[in-house]
Symmetry: C2
Amino acid sequence: MATFIRPRVPRGMRDILPEQMIRRQYVIDVIRDVFEEFGFEPLQTPALELSEVLTGKYGPDAEKLIYQAGHVGGKEDISLRYDLSVPLCRVVAMHPQLPKPFKRYQIDPVWRAERPQKGRYRQFFQCDADTVGTESMLADAENVNLVYQVLTRLGFEQFEVNINDRKLITGIGQFAGVPTEQLGGLYRSIDKLDKIGISGVKDELAENQIPEPVIEKLLALLQVEGTAATVLSALKEQLGDSKIAREGIAELEELNGYLETFGVPDKFYRFNVSMVRGLEYYTGPIYETVVEEPKIGSITGGGRYDELIGSFSKQGYPATGTSFGIERIIDVMEEFDMFPAAVGKTVTQVLVTVFDADLAQESLKLATLLRQDGIRTEVYSRQTRLSSQIKYADTKGIPYAVILGSDELEAGNVAIRNLASRKQEIVPREELVAHIKRLSS
Amino acid sequence: MATFIRPRVPRGMRDILPEQMIRRQYVIDVIRDVFEEFGFEPLQTPALELSEVLTGKYGPDAEKLIYQAGHVGGKEDISLRYDLSVPLCRVVAMHPQLPKPFKRYQIDPVWRAERPQKGRYRQFFQCDADTVGTESMLADAENVNLVYQVLTRLGFEQFEVNINDRKLITGIGQFAGVPTEQLGGLYRSIDKLDKIGISGVKDELAENQIPEPVIEKLLALLQVEGTAATVLSALKEQLGDSKIAREGIAELEELNGYLETFGVPDKFYRFNVSMVRGLEYYTGPIYETVVEEPKIGSITGGGRYDELIGSFSKQGYPATGTSFGIERIIDVMEEFDMFPAAVGKTVTQVLVTVFDADLAQESLKLATLLRQDGIRTEVYSRQTRLSSQIKYADTKGIPYAVILGSDELEAGNVAIRNLASRKQEIVPREELVAHIKRLSS
């Protein structure tokens, strides 16, 4: 056998053990259900992409985090995917026969070599829904509606989708009169509003040589509060001179109209010009969801990227989508104990114990009966005392143990032990399945 | 925007487009259901492992196929996983608190840089169920029972689980009197029985300096046909002098007894001493499933590996498991048209068309109503003629289109078009949801 190796995972990686995985699976199943209810179809792309496919899409800082891969004799330059949007664009370009609009979802891991920190891992899941081939704000409104539906179905009562528009951000840059190459600094300062407050942003802008009157107008804009209509009309008033800003505002107005029609309550979203998002490829509306507590960053993010497919295909397509970060969603749900009681420590409903070797046969038959009715049943497969088997069921959180001793066998009965109440019932063998079903419902 | 890149995937990789992905999801869901019915719990490990974890486990030929990975500034030697069993062993060693027996399933991709060929990809999914911490053949019998349950539930009527035992194979080696270092050649010759036939195996064994009388005895063994009992008793008669062979035979006898108790029909399995399996780490019973048609290799494989966890932990644990290859399973199901009618080209049930901008609002409200009742509904999000929208639904295979023109709006009705029959019905708006439900059930 191989030499002894200390068991470890790579830095920033982790295992998802069953108890955690059951919660994860619950969240993924809810998201998948809502994606499909919205008419998105499943797609899967390989984890490995040609490196040239990923290069130049995310911005230089992000690109440094991409994992490279290779194998003996391999001649291609390949990488692990960094997100699911760029692979989607490659797919759309490679398969022009796909009907448009092409609405797909993908729930899969991505890899980023970020500095590991609490709650942040180098492999994490993205749950993405995207619509390719339509310029309509209806598709963007569907994205925000999707966020609303998923989060409320998961039990979130307090969250806010922050909505902005890249065109509007560009308009703000023009409005501020900063040269294009300094725009990044302006956006980063604005983006810090939540962290450093109005006065902090003011100081940073001044340091960046933004003229005082422009700073005042910008800050006035950033401080507009109120309904969607109030914010949008203030924006128009302040930024109406910029053509590109007007385009961005018109997009947000249209988006807002659809959200009202879909019945998304306005307490769950707001137009927020200080929200920027990191990735380079966005071109229109952008959105990300924050929760007040715990302080955890955004739990969903997305936006429109009308030019990305054009980097793979002469026939470009407009596209827009949104992504759910299940790791953070799960963190919030655990913090506030939001998982339904049915999402327990185990999926197993019954442990069939094996009293001794002579009685094994009869116990196995019981397991087959239970499984035939869809009852999730483990057969205890070690030879140990009954008390150890019961303890095992208890430790694992399996609710019921079925016991068949020689007394029960002779009388045509089985014993059902409720691990929580420690009570035991004797039922006729032929009533076992119905009885367990009744107990589990 | 980035420079133009021709959209391609790395050699041996592929995208799973929605139509294919829907079938894939169906197969995975069935497998997951059965895994859970058998009391296996979900586990997820990271795709990347420290290379030292994978080294020395699979055999030298296999090891050459492992993908390496890395990132800027990374100091660890990391690889993409090659299977799900070695990561499981690492998990068990890292988390000694997990109750034993530890029964887990994992459904995830693995990567192997094999020579690409028809139907074989460098990323493929394994669906594994394993039991750690029991020496009992009951766990091995559960593995074979699991194969039987999954395949019959997927509609397979003709398949055969070939069962052998590594101890028996070692016994055959001793019996043949070949030196340990030549055993590999003997096993490879025996493994070719299906391809080169009895006379081919005979020639190969003679070339490998196996004495004539031993060859005759071996061939007699390989040609034993009949029930499990017949084969096992013939094995005992021929190989009874070897202690290790007797141990292997005893394991298979016990396994066979459990299979009978579980009610696995004996037409679905056979004891086959010429089945060897490639991976080095097996130590006891091994099993793989073949189908007569199409010629596609094994669709499941597994076995016992009692020494693998010991390479990560001073406290070793016996372990056994089985793996389903969904790519090949899907190939067979497509060849024989085994997918249920409900597994269609799309998961979407209804397309809500948008007649024109003025009527958009009312159409969106219909979509929300349908979705509230769980009906999978797409809203058409491009501004085009109604006829293009209907054509889109038809191309995608969406069964019903909902149409709301001004006539219908005024009368409080909606039109439902059946895309297959091309017939259209007018129903009162408030009956839409119930009507679609009736049509879809």
